[in-house]
């Protein structure tokens, strides 16, 4: 159930499309970064970009529709992302210790 009427007018100052365009752009930058960079830390940051692009969309829509569900969901994503970062960074540290480098192409042991 949405109560559009109780949304403060200031929210509507920026049109919803802008958020969508911004989030899409951010997401595409993230995807491109993941695809073309080889440094594991950069790839990791790009993944964060993609996650946050989605977060922006969720908050924007939540605010426009005065529905807190979206914002609650964002908190979950942030919590999970934090956990993921700790694990991921741990892995990267181990890669660095073994290879003195964080190039993902070094991790090609699974080649058939």
């Amino acid at each position: 159930m949405t109560n559009a009427s109780i949304v403060p007018a200031v929210i509507h100052e920026v049109p919803l499309q802008y958020y969508v365009f911004f989030a899409t752009a951010l997401f595409c930058i993230g995807v491109t970064g993941v695809l073309i960079r080889r440094n594991a830390i950069i790839i990791f940051m790009c993944i964060e970009l993609m996650l946050n692009a989605v977060n922006i969309l969720l908050t924007a829509f939540a605010a426009y529709r005065a529905d807190p569900n979206g914002q609650v969901f964002v908190f979950f994503i942030m919590a999970v992302a934090a956990a993921e970062v700790s694990v991921g960074l741990g892995i990267i540290v181990m890669i660095y210790r073994n290879f003195q480098n964080t190039d993902v192409n070094l991790l090609s042991r699974l080649r058939g």
């Binding site: 993941v34 192409n105 699974l110 058939g112």
Partner: protein, 648 residues
């Protein structure tokens, strides 16, 4: 004796009945699992006590026996109309067999402690012996043909294991395989017999089958089906009891340790065929044609094996052929419906043949494993107990009164005389041959000059007490065992009276066959003739091998044609080899070369090769590069999204 109640309940706790075969089985497990950890004395003690325990339990059952009953242990097979309970049949026949197996078995176990003392695998030996006793007890205790069959196969297996006990010798292994395979031929007949029996009577339970048979209820078949069933059962009996033409395995079975030859291949297992026929005597009584076949095969085997026995020089081979010959006598008795006398001979034969084998074992032990009688001689002084006990055994098997063999053999021959004079003449002639070759054995071994090496002469010694004690006990049994069925001397045929209920149905069907009391004068005449013939045989042997001190020719000596034929056992082994073994081997070799190598192997290997090639092809996909995986993943996501939502 109380009347026979069908389904009468067991008077004692079930545990007692479980323990009779259970104790030897326990001994088998203990000795088998702790094989290397037990000293030979402990292993022997475990094995012997296990059998002794079931002997004592059997004696307890025998003493307290009042009426026939079955002991239901559990429902074993229950499929549709096929109901096979696992139950025991306790009656006169199975009780006597129990006593025989466990009694003679105990003596032979005691003997084995001494005989096998120096062997490296004593635990294995005793575990196999115990397994044999267990199987044999299951065989005689079972209350239906399927349980009998389990025991039947069990003893066959043990026979195989024990013939090949010294498995480092290839010819021993071949003898074991021969015994196993020839027995399979007989078992096939036996199995088919059981199947046909089930089709006919819709049951394999003794009580039910025999009752239906005696009432003439043959299901969808006529009375002729009984002839077929009994012939098939008899094929099984032929295999197990080494009758023509399936006897060739028994002489080869002498490869096993001597106590095995005594227990399995003389006293108990080979009489399983007789037991089978006795157990199903109703069916055999209904099939006179089968009985005729049984009698003729028995007689032919008795004569045939006796002639081969004349020319053997291996002490155990002579005894083996004499076993085949005596089994022939038992089947001859069955064939002329002398059921009781056949069983009588089973009992007495078990005593004296076990005695003879154990005596032979004692000789072999003293001669440092020499078995050739041409290298023996003059052992009488060195082995006095063995000599005396073997002398009793030889007198018993030759049918000299008052030793056990005389009464049983005489009873068989008088039954045969009633049936057919020709068969009787052949039987008496065989009895002459028996006396001759047994005393040939005795004279060659114990009389004359010692013919072995100096080293053997130096080593000669009487066996230890554990070996001579069973010899003495068996000698006493062989000497007096005959009086259980000697109405002339003790006024009553105890064995026949005791066994009578087993043949109730047969007696109803053919009362005439059971009421043959030969005239006193005829009987005396028959006795006189058979004793005279045996004495002639003994005297002839004495003249040839003691007075003239002949000794058998060496293997490569020139022989006349008939001598050669007998010496080579009528070339039967060679005949079977050329007729059956070689064609089958050629067929298998051919199949191996063309079917196995040409068709089966390429198919099996082909499947492997296709899988391997497929793997080679697909491994390129697995680049190991994280970037490629990511790109492919993104492309995949885009495609999925595009295909899903692009249509909107």
């Amino acid at each position: 004796m109380e009347t026979v109640l069908p389904g009468a309940t067991a008077p004692f706790s079930t545990l007692l009945y479980v323990l009779i075969p259970g104790l030897p089985f326990l001994g088998f497990l203990l000795n088998g699992l702790l094989n290397k950890k037990l000293s030979s004395t402990v292993a022997g003690a475990i094995g012997t006590l296990a059998v002794l325990g079931s002997f004592l339990l059997s004696v307890f059952l025998f003493v307290n026996f009042k009426y026939q009953y079955t002991v239901n242990l559990f429902d074993w097979i229950s499929v549709g109309s096929l109901q096979i309970p696992f139950s025991y049949q306790i009656d006169q026949l199975s009780l006597l067999m129990l006593l025989l197996i466990t009694g003679v078995g105990t003596l032979i176990h005691i003997y084995s402690i001494g005989y096998m003392h120096h062997d490296e695998n004593v635990g294995k030996f005793f575990s196999f012996l115990n397994l044999f006793v267990f199987s044999m007890l299951i065989l005689v205790l079972g209350a239906n043909f399927v349980i009998l069959f389990i025991g039947w196969e069990g003893v066959g297996l043990c026979s195989y294991l024990l013939i090949g006990f010294w498995n480092k010798n290839t010819s021993y292994n071949n003898a074991a395989k021969k015994a196993f395979i020839i027995n399979r031929v007989g078992d096939l007949g036996f199995l088919l017999g059981i199947f046909l029996m089930y089709l006919t009577f819709n049951s394999v339970q003794y009580a039910e089958v025999f009752q239906k048979a005696s009432l003439g209820q043959f299901g969808n078949y006529g009375v002729g089906v009984v002839t077929v069933i009994t012939l098939l059962l008899f094929v099984g009996a032929m295999g197990k009891s080494a009758q023509l033409p399936l006897y060739t395995w028994l002489p080869d079975a002498m490869a096993g340790p001597t106590p095995v030859s005594a227990l399995i291949h003389a006293a108990t297992m080979v009489t399983a065929g007789i037991y089978l026929v006795l157990r199903s005597n109703v069916l055999f009584t209904l099939a006179p044609q089968t009985l005729e076949v049984v009698g003729i095969i028995g007689l032919a085997t008795a004569l045939f094996a006796a002639t081969i026995g004349l020319a053997q020089n291996d002490i155990k081979k002579v005894l083996a052929y004499s076993t085949v010959s005596q089994l022939g006598y038992m089947f001859l008795a069955l064939g002329v419906m002398g059921y009781t006398s056949s069983f009588f001979h089973v009992l007495t034969h078990a005593f004296f043949k076990a005695l003879l084998f154990l005596g032979a074992g004692s000789v072999i032990h003293a001669m440092s494993n020499e078995q050739d009688m041409r290298r023996m001689g003059g052992l009488r002084k060195a082995l006095p107990i063995t000599f005396l006990t073997m002398l009793i055994g030889c007198l018993a098997i030759s049918g000299i009164p008052p030793f056990a063999g005389f009464f049983s053999k005489d009873e068989i021959l008088s039954h045969v005389y009633e049936h057919s004079k020709v068969m009787w003449v052949i039987g008496v002639f065989t009895s002459f041959l028996t006396a001759f070759y047994m005393f040939r054995l005795l004279f060659l071994t114990f009389f004359g000059e010692f013919r072995g090496t100096e080293e053997q002469r130096h080593h000669l010694h009487e066996s230890p007490a554990s070996m001579t004690l069973p010899l003495i006990v068996l000698a006493i049994l062989s000497a007096v065992g005959g009086f259980m069925g000697a109405p002339m001397f003790v006024g009553k045929h105890y064995l026949a009276d005791f066994l009578a209920p087993i043949f109730t149905y047969s007696r109803q069907i053919l009362p005439a066959a059971f009421n043959t009391e030969p005239e006193h004068s005829t009987e005396l005449m028959l006795m006189g003739i058979s004793v005279a013939v045996a004495v002639v045989g003994i005297v002839l042997a004495y003249v040839m091998y003691v007075a003239r001190a002949q000794r058998p020719a060496e293997d490569d000596a020139q022989r006349s044609a008939p001598e050669n034929l007998v010496y080579h056992k009528y070339y039967i082994d060679e005949l079977y080899d050329n007729l059956i073994v070689k064609p089958v081997m050629a067929l298998s070799t051919g199949l191996y070369k063309f079917v196995e190598n040409g068709i089966i192997d390429p198919i099996a290997n082909g499947v492997g090769r296709v899988t391997l090639a497929g793997g080679q092809l697909l491994r390129a996909v697995q680049t190991g590069s994280v970037e490629t995986y990511l790109i492919l993943m993104v492309i995949g996501i885009v495609l999925i999204l595009g295909l899903n939502f692009g249509r909107l």
